[in-house]
Symmetry: D2
Subunit: 101 residues, 4 copies
C-alpha cells in the first residue's frame, strides 16, 4: 500500500520547516521507499511499517509542542507493488506524454 | 487524541453502505468512545487502540474487494481528555448559542 | 453534494477556538444546512454555494494570521438529496440499531 | 496558495486511471503551475483559478459515473510565492541533503 502523510504542529509560528526536517530525517533513514511532495510525504510498504514510522514522527513533533494535526491517506490495492511509480507511469502512458513531477 | 477516519472501497458500486455498516459494527463493539458523522467516524483514545481499530476495519473492507482508500485525521493535544465533547462545547460557549450537531 | 471542511490557522497558539467560532457564525448565518462535528463542519448544497461559503471563512481566518491550512472533502452523488441525514439513517437501518452521533 | 486535490470515482471498478488521465489533461492544459504525485495533483495559483479548475475536473469525472469523492487541501501563506518549489528546497537546505522527489 502507499500512504501520504503530513504532520502540522499548532502553536509554533507560521513556519514549520524545522519540524518537517526532523520528520523527513526519520523517513530518509527508514528502509521504506518514499517521495516528498509540496504537501506531504508518500511512503510505500506494509501497514505496520508505515504506521510505526508515522507514529514515531508524530510523537517527535508533539514532544516539542502542544498540539499536532496529522493527516494520513492510504491507497491499498490487492496484488499491486511499486504503486508509487506505477500510478504516475500508467497515467503518462494513457496521455502519451510526460507530466510535471 | 481524537481521530476521524473514513474507509472507501473502490470498484464495488456507488453505494458503500454495506461496508460502512460492517465498519461501524466493529467500532460500536470496541470500547472506544465514538461519534458517527455524515462524512466519517470520530473516535477518542490512544494511538495504538485507535490505529488497531482502523487497521481491523480497513482489512475487513479490503477482504471483500480489490482496493480501499482510507483517510485518517488525528488531532492530538497534550493534557486534553474528552476532546470530542469539549471542542464542540467550547465553540458553543464562545458563540453563546447551540449549533446543529 | 455534502462537503466537510476544517480550517486550521498556523502560528496562533495551540487553541484555535476563536477562529472556529468566527467560522461557525458565518456557517450558522448562511442558508445552507449544516452539522458541526468534533473534526470539522459538514454542509449540504451546490458547489458554488458551498465553495463561496468556505472561501469566505478561509479568508476571514487568514486575515488575522499568517498561514491557514484548509481541508475539504466532497461527496457528490447524482440524484441524491438530504445525503447528510440519509447516510447515517441508512447505516443505522442496516445495523438495526441507533449509533452514537 | 498551493492546493493538493484528488478525485476518486465510486462504482467504476478498482482502476481509475482513465478518469485520472482526463483530469490531468485538463490540469496540463491550464495555465497553472502543477506537480503530479502518486496521491494527487498539487497546483499553485489564486483561490478562484484553482477552485474553477477543480470544479471542472470534478464535474467531468461525475458526468461518466454516479458518485465522486474529491479531497482538497489548501496551504495558504501570506506574502509567499512559489511555495511548491520553496517548501521542498527549504527542507533540503535544513537537512543539507537532497531527498527523493
Amino acid at each position: 500500500m502507499i500512504v501520504q502523510f503530513s504532520i502540522v504542529p499548532l502553536g509554533k509560528g507560521p513556519g514549520i520547516g524545522d519540524d518537517v526536517a526532523k520528520v523527513l530525517k526519520i523517513v530518509d533513514n527508514s528502509r521504506l521507499s518514499y517521495k516528498i511532495t509540496p504537501m506531504g510525504t508518500v511512503v510505500e510498504g506494509s501497514w505496520d511499517d508505515i504506521m510505526g514510522l508515522i507514529k514515531k514522527c508524530h510523537s517527535l513533533v508533539l514532544k516539542s509542542g502542544e498540539r499536532v494535526v496529522t493527516s494520513i491517506t492510504i491507497d491499498d490495492r490487492k496484488r499491486r507493488k511499486n504503486m508509487m511509480e506505477e500510478k504516475i507511469r500508467s497515467v503518462e502512458k494513457r496521455l502519451g506524454k510526460s507530466l510535471r513531477k
